[in-house]
Amino acid sequence: MLPGIPDEAAGRSDRTGLAGPDRGDAVVAVTDLFRDHHIELVRLALIMVGDLATAEDVVQDAFERLHRGWHNLRQPSSGLAYLRSCVLNGCRSVHRRAAVARKLGPRLAGPQEEGCPGGASAADDRGEMAAALRVLPRRQREVLVLRYYADLDVAQIATTLRITPSAVRSSNSRGLAALARALRED
């Protein structure tokens, strides 16, 4: 059984009562995407919002949207790209509601985290990096995370963020420069 999805989820196209032949496909495809990418998306959201519960909520919302709109998907292969965009949009909403987000925890994972492998010094380094990322403008932060965490290329980042490839490149270089300055200052 997939984590979080009851056994009967897969292949239940005949019993869902959904109209149209692609409804069953939707269940199967969303289930596949969930199995293959759920943890990766939660981690992406965790980096952006710094709070695991919030990250899980953001990803849940993304899967909801994907399932609701699956029948309009022109290329089923773009489901993952859509999920990534939804997750980033959800994280932006969290930041818009930053007043509450701060109440619940740090926006980006900080050095207070417990039980991190690698000992105190590694945790400090990561906290320093998180703090440096936190003060970057939003677009630079998103580009750096997609580039260096999600391993997306320029074209994929441009599609995900709906910006031009040149904007991706300039945000990447400016973000790296700002990050270097911030880490030196610390």
Binding site: I5, A9, L18, L52, S85, S93, L104, R139, Y148
Partner: protein, 416 residues
């Protein structure tokens, strides 16, 4: 690959590994929505709720479940009043060979949208700004306060600038206000009183991973004297605005999923002349309906305190390619929540280029700034763009976002 890129890749991977497969909650089954608010096409889909638990959000049907009163005149339309002559936008852009970030305020003629003058604002970005600048207006059509926020180490920085526009709008003077906010307090929203004498600031006291107090700080511009209403409750105030010169409206957003009645999320009005310093003693007023995500749209209260002006967005599919999105600016009774009028409606059929329409999801409609009579509202909406609502007549205006803006923190600011 540079050392920095290596380190970034490594640190991000390690940061993300706080989430382990066994530590993540399963997808939850959302609570079912009430039948009358479900759209027909959702009925069969609801059968799959138990399977994937993925039907949580149905688009808004309006603040009264779709029971709009047709084209009723705006509730405040009888209040005659001149339109503010200027609106001011604030934006940031990159400048110079080193990509320095600068902040600009631009004064526009609200009749034509023409940019009349610009003023450069000292920026805090070099000290680590995480939010864009904000702007708030007094009721004299000439006085504005611009806020710059930043951070150095664990200390929060906030600077406030008074912008005075000359009679013909062709020039403006900028003065830094002698207002300080303790570094342990973070600032979220700022609103200038209609008489231009006081500033209401939403603040939070945060240490380590969480925040201990939140509240509203009211500061006299002339003396810098401050009074603060605080609460240790789990939540925070934001979307602050003034209701006359002695009351402050704000959205209390509870941070707890199951909050006690006294702490429930919603708009409130705080009488700053009343005794006591408990923020949650503020009187609750009607609030716009929360979106499925729990997000409550921005709302502004007219100066007489009777009418809440807000927006609703209804998106049938929230999906790229074939969305039909309906946005409305509405007036609600502050006392009963009853729909008083629909100021304007925008319907947009959205066709996304390429095969990724998720950009739509970040789009919203917002009331940006309310003129002192409540008749004239600056609004911004994906279907309408930016413009002014005079009663129920919409006129698009330029400059928001500014074509010169680099969109550094996602959003420019505007006020009149």
């Amino acid at each position: 690959m540079t050392d920095l890129e290596d380190r970034l890749r490594r640190d991000l991977k390690e940061l993300s590994e706080r989430a382990q497969p066994g530590s993540i909650r399963p997808l939850r089954v959302p609570s079912a929505r009430k039948a009358p608010r479900m759209r027909r096409w959702l009925a069969p889909v609801a059968a799959t709720v138990a399977v994937l638990g993925v039907i949580a959000g149905v688009s808004l049907a309006g603040p009264q479940g779709g029971q709009y009163a047709g084209d009723r005149p705006a509730a405040v339309a009888g209040l005659a009043g001149p339109r503010p002559p200027y609106y001011v936008t604030v934006f940031q852009r990159y400048a110079g060979a080193h990509g320095q970030i600068i902040t600009i305020a631009a004064v526009h003629d609200s009749a034509t949208g023409a940019a009349l003058t610009t003023v450069r604002i000292p920026t805090l970005m070099s000290q680590g700004g995480t939010q864009g600048p904000s702007i708030t207006a007094a009721g004299d059509d000439r006085t504005f306060v611009i806020t710059e926020l930043g951070q150095t180490g664990t200390r929060n920085l906030a600077r406030f600038f008074l912008l005075r526009v000359t009679e013909h709008g062709r020039a403006a003077s900028l003065t830094r206000l002698p207002i300080t906010v303790p570094g342990n307090l973070s600032v979220d929203d700022v609103a200038l009183s209609p008489d231009g004498s006081r500033l209401a600031i939403t603040v939070q006291s945060c240490r380590g991973a969480g925040c201990q107090h939140s509240g509203i700080r009211v500061v006299a511009l002339a003396s810098g004297a401050a009074t603060t209403w605080l609460t240790p409750a789990n939540g925070a105030p934001f979307n602050v605005s003034w209701v006359g010169d002695a009351k402050v409206a704000f959205l209390w957003q509870s941070g707890a999923r199951a909050s006690p009645p006294t702490q429930r999320t919603g708009y409130r009005v705080l009488n700053i002349d009343a005794p006591g310093r408990n923020l949650l003693a503020a009187r609750a007023i009607s609030s716009p309906r929360a979106e499925p995500s729990g997000y409550i749209p921005l709302a502004l209260v007219t100066l007489d305190g009777n009418v809440v002006i807000t927006s609703t967005v209804q998106n049938d599919h929230q999906w790229y390619g074939r969305d039909t999105v309906v946005a409305e600016f509405v007036e609600l009774s502050a006392r009963t929540g009853k729909l008083l009028g629909v100021l304007d409606t925008a319907t947009k059929k959205y066709v996304a280029p390429g095969d990724n329409g998720a950009g739509l999801l970040d789009q919203e409609c917002n009331v940006v700034s309310l003129g002192r009579t409540g008749v004239h509202v600056l609004v911004q909406c994906f279907g309408l763009g930016f413009g002014r609502l005079d009663g129920s007549r919409f006129t698009p205006l330029p400059g928001f976002p500014s074509p010169s803006s680099s969109g550094i923190n996602g959003q420019d600011a505007a006020a009149w």
